[in-house]
């Protein structure tokens, strides 16, 4: 596992520098408007890009013949994704606190609760995208993610059209402490590891 994480980190810092730069730009913009993009961008693009680069260089073919188990190959991508979200969290909070301390922009009300929600959404999106990509490969997986996001958008739109349902959902969510959002999302993310592993096995054994 350590070897796989090391490899992914090397690849992030050599081939995905552009992604890191965009992440940095989003997080330095004062105020909370661009913070959700930092997390979503990190969550979905970092892991998906790493898997795509593995497929492009055919590292994934070689890795199956090296002393790594399928679980390690799958779990390492999750861990790299989680590390990306932690990096986004540290960077965003640190920079926004610096802006608040230096008077550039004050922290908005509910800043930390919003961050908890963004982390939770990022974890869920990452888990879904990684599960789909491991099962179908990057090219097909990416298309399916687009379809899934459109479907989710449609459902959310339909719910939003019914103001009562939306308000019930918001009330239910507000009863929970914000810190529980990322914890629940992290639990969901961990729970999808065996599903991704199974999907990857099915794809490899074809």
């Amino acid at each position: 596992m350590k070897a796989l994480l090391r490899k992914d980190i090397y690849v992030v810092f050599t081939q995905l520098r552009g992604l890191l730069l965009v992440m940095l730009i989003f997080s330095v913009i004062p105020g909370g408007t661009f913070i959700p993009f930092t997390f979503l961008y990190t969550a979905v693009l970092s892991t998906a890009s790493l898997i795509a680069l593995d497929e492009q260089s055919r590292w994934d073919d070689l890795a199956l013949m090296l002393p790594y188990s399928r679980r390690q190959l799958v779990a390492s991508k999750y861990v790299t994704g989680w590390l990306g979200i932690v990096a986004a969290l540290v960077m965003t909070v640190a920079i926004q606190c610096i802006w608040a301390a230096t008077g550039v922009a004050a922290l908005e009300e509910g800043f930390f609760a919003a961050i908890c929600l963004y982390i939770a959404i990022a974890l869920v999106l990452q888990a879904v995208s990684v599960t789909v990509i491991f099962r179908f490969g990057y090219v097909w997986g990416r298309m399916m993610i687009v379809i899934a996001v459109a479907a989710i958008g449609g459902v959310v739109g339909a719910v939003a059209a019914n103001g009562k349902t939306l308000s019930m959902a918001a009330t239910a969510l507000s009863r929970l402490h914000p810190a529980t959002y990322p914890l629940l999302a992290a639990a969901l993310s961990v729970a999808t590891i065996p599903i991704s592993e199974h999907g990857y096995k099915v794809r490899c054994e074809k």
Binding site: K7, D61, M65, S69
Partner: protein, 282 residues
Amino acid sequence: MNAIEVRDLKKCYPGFELKNVSFTLPEGAILGLVGENGAGKSTLIRLIMGATGRDGGEASVLGTDVRSPEFTKTKDDIGVVLDEAHFPPSLNALKLGRIFADTYTRWDGETYASLLEKLELPGKKKIKDFSRGMRMKLALAAALSHDARLLVLDEPTGGLDPMVRDEILDILEDFTRREDRSVLISSHIVSDLEKLCDYIAFLHKGELLLFDEKDRLLEEYALIKLTERDFEDIPKEAVRGVRRGKYGVEALVERGLVDRAIQAEHTSLEDIIVFFARGDRE
């Protein structure tokens, strides 16, 4: 212990089938897997390494079933070189060494460094800027730096110039000086395998047509050149492949089954393979 044991191994893809392949590679031996492009060599190697699922049969490597969870540990004793290096192109040889140091329990950094030096591979140059020959040498250096007991090489010399091919074959010869080390190497360059191998397996359209010791093959088969009329007297069961030309018939025959009076030429491994492949067309 056998290095590789394969029994009735099957794999079906749309339009291709690997049919009941069986062979045993004893420990300390070198097996050359020959076959035309698309014959199923890479599929067989993927099955042997447990990288893909099988539709039937069994495979074990260094005494471990390749589908068992223990095989992950066994792979620590196996060095793998595929037809391309398959390393992340933005990395360099030094970073790759650090990754493999965390991968293999017996990784030897000094051996790796000395191989890089011997093969004139720069440590800090990005892999994407390497030539194909350099990438293959890098893959070989990585495969030889963790005290592997078995090397599995899929077309390591394909597309390389004769100098680099020779260099790679020399390294493989060095590797097999220790008696407990085995090699499975696939190639369609038969002359490379003739230099190196103890055993030859010939895969043709997904079927293992031939598996035997190289020396026995060279002793057992001979090439005869006859007129069409004389050829009719040759027992059909002796003939493995025929080529008909303007001036007569050229055939690969089993020496023991033809009359000793017939003049037979010594044959090369390449002839044997070519005639075996032609056999089903005759």
